[in-house]
């Protein structure tokens, strides 16, 4: 069992955003988390790598609890070496070129040598088809290219699982395709991924399991083909307009 969430509860002031959420992730699984805006799916991802604090419940990575009550910044730094995240707003560092953006993590956090980091960065860049942009600055890239670089940046840390938080939401339709192709490629390589997305067709093709959330609770867990053709719950049916 790679990742386990048990009874996660989170609230912002009086708003309960996550209400008793539990699920497991196996190694190599690709899970798509769907739901309306505001149902808590992004918050859920951010709890997993510590960007948000949970008020109740536990998260286990490789059987070890990562949501310790005394968890400080240093603890999460260690965790984040194994859990990668790609954001909706890509957030490349504007003062560094593409290569430096990617090797910053490996060099400073994992203390790898520059040659090693560069070699691996170039491999990832080639896989996403951006090798020729290695010395370009973020301002010279399109949205889709920036997002692909952000994915390389996360990959170069060799995480055990990558979280994708609505990574295509800020992109023009043409660019959405190139990013989704990259994610499909990662799935074929056996990478464990949690993907929060609005792209239904993509979720259907790429995910092994669909988790559907509403109002901070997991309403339905199903396989993609069953979920999209005949979901079990009323809420899912309403969500998919069936």
């Amino acid at each position: 069992m790679l990742l386990q969430l048990k009874n996660i509860r989170k609230s912002f002031k009086e708003n309960i955003v996550l209400n008793d959420v539990s699920f497991d992730v196996e190694k190599g699984e690709v899970i798509a988390i769907l739901g309306r805006s505001g149902c808590g799916k992004s918050t859920l991802l951010r709890c997993i790598n510590g960007l948000e604090e949970v008020q109740g419940g536990e998260i286990y990575l490789n059987e070890a609890m990562i949501t310790k009550p005394d968890a400080n910044y240093k603890h999460w730094c260690e965790v984040r070496k194994k859990i990668g995240m790609v954001f909706q707003s890509y957030d490349l560092f504007p003062h560094m070129n593409v290569l430096k953006n990617i090797i910053l993590g490996p060099m400073k956090v994992e203390k790898r040598s520059k040659e090693e980091a560069v070699k691996e960065a170039l491999i990832h860049l080639e896989r996403v088809g951006l090798l020729e942009k290695v010395a370009a600055y973020p301002r010279e890239l399109s949205g889709g290219q920036k997002q692909r670089v952000a994915i390389c940046r996360a990959l170069c840390m060799n995480p055990e699982i990558i979280l994708f938080d609505e990574v295509t939401a800020a992109l023009d339709p043409e660019m959405v395709r190139e990013v989704l192709d990259v994610i499909k490629g990662l799935r074929d390589q056996g990478l464990t991924m949690l993907i929060v997305t609005h792209e239904m067709a993509f979720a259907e093709k790429v995910a092994d399991k669909i988790i559907f959330m509403e109002n901070g609770k997991i309403v339905e867990v199903n396989t993609p083909d069953k979920f999209f053709s005949s979901p079990n719950t009323e809420e899912a049916k309403r969500f998919l307009n069936l």
């Binding site: 260690e78 984040r80 560092f93 910053l104 993590g105 400073k108 956090v109 301002r139």
Partner: protein, 226 residues
């Protein structure tokens, strides 16, 4: 023409140069120290600790509202009298101008840090950088680039304001000029030297500060794209 006293100025050139060097010394030293401490203070000012924040803001406003001249006077006379110690006017000047510059830069850095999108902090955290690494590699470089025009601007203001030190006795260019003028008047009461001397001083300051202000404008244009 001879009444303008130009030959006296030319003769006194070495002394004037010495005085000018003192001005530049203090300005440059204050600037460098201000940049160093200013960034530290700036980061501190983003802390959530209410006490730290409050104290820093009070000191900031103190240097904003009160002219450095007044702080020079207070520190020089006040400290000498109150604690009965000899204060060196150059040291006092350095302290006052450094504090002034530090808090100016500090406030600037603070506003730049808070205006950076939160996502830069999150993306740094997501790849596992520690807080210090995040500031050193991601946050501060961006802030340094953005603050360059303001730093050049501060340099210009420091050069213009440091000549106030002569009021507490530092032998910088104003003091030297005045003593030269006095000597000339003693020998030649009809000389126009005060006109010439101060006119030349204005030109000298202009020739230093104007290029700096142009440079600052250039930096602003260049880095607004980043």
């Amino acid at each position: 023409m001879q009444n303008l006293g130009i030959e006296y100025i030319i003769k006194a050139f070495p002394r004037l140069l010495d005085g000018f060097i003192v001005t530049i010394e203090i300005s440059v030293s204050s600037l460098i120290l201000s940049i160093f401490f200013g960034f530290i203070i700036g980061v501190l000012m983003t802390s959530k600790n209410k006490v730290v924040n409050f104290v820093l803001r009070i000191v900031l406003e103190a240097f904003r509202l009160i002219h450095p001249l007044i702080w020079l006077v207070v520190l020089f006379f006040g400290v000498t009298y109150a604690f009965n110690i000899q204060t060196d006017s150059m040291v006092v000047s350095l302290i006052v101008f450094t504090l002034w510059g530090t808090f100016e830069i500090g406030d600037l850095v603070r506003s730049y840090i808070t205006s950076l999108p939160k996502s830069q902090f999150e993306a740094s955290a997501a790849i596992g950088l520690t807080k210090i690494q995040m500031y050193v590699y991601v946050i501060l470089p961006q802030i340094i680039i953005r603050s360059l025009p303001a730093i050049v601007n501060l340099a210009t203001r420091l050069i213009k304001t440091t000549n106030l030190m002569f009021l507490i006795g530092v032998s910088e260019i104003m003091k030297v000029s005045q003593s030269i003028i006095q000597v000339v008047y003693y020998n030649n009461p009809n000389s126009y030297i005060s006109f010439t001397m101060y006119f030349i001083l204005l030109l000298v300051y202009f020739m230093i500060c104007y290029p700096l202000s142009l440079f600052s404008k250039y930096l602003e244009k260049r880095f607004s794209v980043v």
